[in-house]
């Protein structure tokens, strides 16, 4: 879907990610208030709509998060659930809202608290109505199947996959919002305990809590608010996963390939022009595959792209400059919005200690969502952000 008029981000907010005693709604308010204040918005009735992404925390999560900010009553609050894509999808809907002229200012929030509600030592799985779940499926295992096949077909080793964790944790070293960060060796990654072979603990994103928020505005409103460094949402794409229970190549990802193609077509901006990417690196293997799905390199060249240093500072495209999910952890409803918040800060040169140089002009974000039998993912949300 092409946006009918120009849409901009005025301000963003995020909490530190990790294990929180604060519930999802309190985390959401922290991120929302930071996004609103940084957008020069100083009272609740300036907002005309809100979309709130959450995966697992129950009903009316958006109203729960925003009522104490005085935002209930005068405007629609719409709750968005698509598992790990929810936060990204909330931003997508806020952008559509402004693009269609329904609102001049819309707030998107992603917030989640898993650790107050999940039994430790268990893995996230899709709903028990799903045939694969009944047979024992967990998300870690579904990615492990991709890793096993990728290693079998390409000869990549577990040490190769570990390089993704090493890179992303290094990127996050000075990022105050990241949870796991700093130096970690390939050996430490490989020797951590096996979660779903060949994926070890340090190749899996942590089960975390957190929130991100994005204020989306029309061009006119950006001027009225006096925003000095607006970031344009050049494109926003949501798709659902093609369904078929037939053999297919899972070293690719049909839904991500379709989303990125659509994003490039609608924006007229190609993969060679993308400076930074925050993608769904819930597991090491995913980032490696997505280099290829995004067209950052050719099919089968992902590992070379990584080894040649093209996915880090000084390379062709800095992938996961905030440290990705492998550093932040992955509160499912929050991640998509937090990725966008992190990219906006990069494009505004606000990331002291982990700033990409030169300051990025084009950023892409990507969250898939939901294990659903017969699909690679139930949903996928991507955004293209441009610094005018």
């Amino acid at each position: 879907m092409k946006l009918q008029r120009d849409v901009y981000i005025a301000g963003v907010g995020e909490t530190k990610f990790g294990r929180h005693q604060l519930e999802f709604d309190a985390l959401g308010r922290i991120a929302a208030l930071e996004a609103l204040k940084s957008s020069n918005i100083n009272r609740p009735d300036m907002i005309q709509s809100a979309y709130v992404g959450n995966g697992t925390n129950g009903l009316v999560t958006g109203q729960t998060a925003l009522k104490d900010l005085g935002m209930c009553g005068h405007m629609p609050i719409i709750n968005v659930e698509s598992a790990c894509s929810a936060g990204g999808m909330a931003v997508h809907l806020a952008a559509r809202d402004v693009a269609s002229g329904f609102s001049e200012v819309s707030l998107a929030v992603g917030c989640e608290n898993h650790t107050l509600h999940m039994k430790t030592g268990t893995a996230l799985s899709p709903a028990m109505t799903d045939i694969e779940t009944v047979h024992g499926a967990v998300m870690t295992g579904k990615y492990a199947l991709r890793a096993q096949r990728y290693m079998y077909e390409t000869g990549a080793t577990i040490e190769d996959l570990a390089l993704i964790t090493v890179k992303n944790r290094r990127h996050a070293t000075n990022n105050p919002y990241a949870w796991f960060k700093g130096e970690i060796s390939v050996e430490e990654v490989v020797k951590s305990r096996v979660v779903a072979s060949p994926l070890t603990l340090q190749q899996c994103c942590g089960i975390a809590d957190g929130a991100g928020a994005v204020v989306v505005c029309s061009e006119d409103m950006i001027r009225k608010l006096g925003i000095e460094k607006p970031i344009k949402i050049a494109g926003t794409v949501v798709r659902s996963g093609p369904y078929h229970n037939r053999p297919r190549d899972i070293t690719g990802d049909d839904i991500t390939e379709a989303c990125s193609r659509q994003l490039y077509e609608e924006t007229g901006i190609g993969p060679d022009d993308v400076d930074i990417v925050e993608l769904h690196d819930a597991f090491t293997i995913a980032e490696l595959l997505y280099y290829e799905c995004f067209g950052l390199c050719g099919k089968g060249e992902g590992l070379k792209f990584l080894r040649d240093g093209n996915a880090t500072h000084g390379g062709k495209c800095v992938v996961s400059p905030r440290g990705g999910m492998l550093s932040y952890g992955h509160p499912m409803g929050a991640s998509g919005a937090a990725q966008i918040a992190a990219c906006v800060k990069q494009m505004r040169n606000q990331c002291t200690g982990y700033q990409v140089d030169p300051v990025p002009r084009v950023a892409v974000t990507h969250v898939t969502g939901g294990g659903l039998s017969g699909t690679e993912h139930a949903a996928c949300t991507m955004h293209m952000l441009v610094r005018p």
């Binding site: 039994k119 047979h135 499926a137 967990v138 870690t140 199947l145 096949r149 369904y243 053999p247």
Partner: protein, 142 residues
Amino acid sequence: MGDNSMQKQLQNTFFHPDLLEIPADGSPAYLKGYRCRACGQLDFPKLNPCPRCWGEEFEVVPLSRRGKLYSATDIFVGQAGMKTPYTFGYVDLPEDLRIFCQLDGPTGSFRCDEEVELTVGTIRIDSDGALVTSYKFKKIGS
């Protein structure tokens, strides 16, 4: 396990009669494919209506008992309530269908592209503590 005890268990906890047939005459179990009588598409599991043409009449097609293991993983941190480790994978059948299933065999013993065959066994324990029986795959002859 004798036929009688198997039958008793199946009545209580069998998942799911539309998917797996265990013939009463003792002949080998098979997965049930569903061919749409309107458009001819073959699906597993059963989808009603047919997702291609919304046809609602199907012919049951016994699926091949052997297939090729596309990928497999050993699960050490599993679903809440499931005993670990367990192994699952994708098995590709000659009918151009991919089956997600648990694999019967020691951890670390399965390889991509090896041939595997259908078996029947316990896949989980349900919330009442009953064993849930369904299809699984195993190495040929194991």
